[in-house]
Symmetry: C2
Subunit: 160 residues, 2 copies
């Protein structure tokens, strides 16, 4: 992983972004999926750190074979977090469905009732990450606004 | 597989059900996924045969570990076939999304635009099959009617 490759943590411990709701939710999701307890002694900044891909980190990740489970869990954490936020905003159950083929391509859906509230094509899942936590927040917010818009426009289908 | 276990083919070569549209479509789908050309010399009846699970066959299938690729391809062929029929009926693109966890549980969706036209919980995928081809047709028809009903009721979302 990049931790070993790069050594240096990119996300600063006092990064204000860590306090943003979507990032708080990401931390909750990532810790929830950490069945081996690897993150138990890690700060939130360190848990989030591999999601930030600098150019150097991006280049260092080989895009061969299947994305590993740790990478997949980050993709899941991200869409779980958006789904959670969407639930709060709409008051309706939001279910993330992540479908990743063996080559790192796939689709991320968030379903609300019988409505596909969010539908993202996934490419290059091996390199799932963002330029910064702020970039992650901006991207997630955009998806959230889009999904919430879909739900309010087609509320009847979302309530099915 | 059951072929080896049971030896005897259950689906008769002259079974009238083989001529039904949904079964024709299943044959097309199954042959399309047969990348090794195993089915090249097989009759349609033989290709379809493993989908018919008699009580004895059902009992003979171990439900441990992950369902194998051949079983998964049958599940995909079934929902692809329903999606194809739904396209013909509605004139809209229908996309099957099959999500199967490692233990043989999962979800089969058919999406039309932003509408979840079909949503099936999958259990015990190891033993995916039907009592007879007629039972398969009846089950597929039921899903098709349900999905087509959803599309005509929520056509605006299906057209997104």
């Amino acid at each position: 992983m990049y931790d070993e490759l790069e050594g240096k943590q990119v996300v600063q411990e006092d990064d204000a972004a860590i306090q943003q709701p979507i990032i708080r939710q990401m931390v909750v999701q990532l810790r929830a999926m950490d069945s081996y307890g690897t993150y138990d002694t890690w700060s939130d900044a360190r848990v989030l750190d591999p999601l930030v891909l600098t150019k150097e980190r991006r280049r260092a990740i080989p895009v061969v074979g299947d994305p590993d489970e740790t990478t997949l869990s980050r993709v899941r954490a991200y869409y779980n977090a958006i789904a959670q936020m969407l639930e709060r905003e709409t008051g309706l159950l939001a279910v993330p469905v992540i479908n990743i083929s063996h080559e790192g391509f796939g689709r991320a859906l968030i379903l609300v009732g019988k409505l596909v509230a969010l539908d993202k094509t996934l490419r290059d899942v091996h390199r799932f990450g963002f330029a910064s936590l702020d970039a992650l927040i901006a991207e997630a917010e955009k998806s959230l606004v889009q999904a919430a818009g879909m739900v309010s426009e087609h509320r009847a289908v979302a309530e099915l």
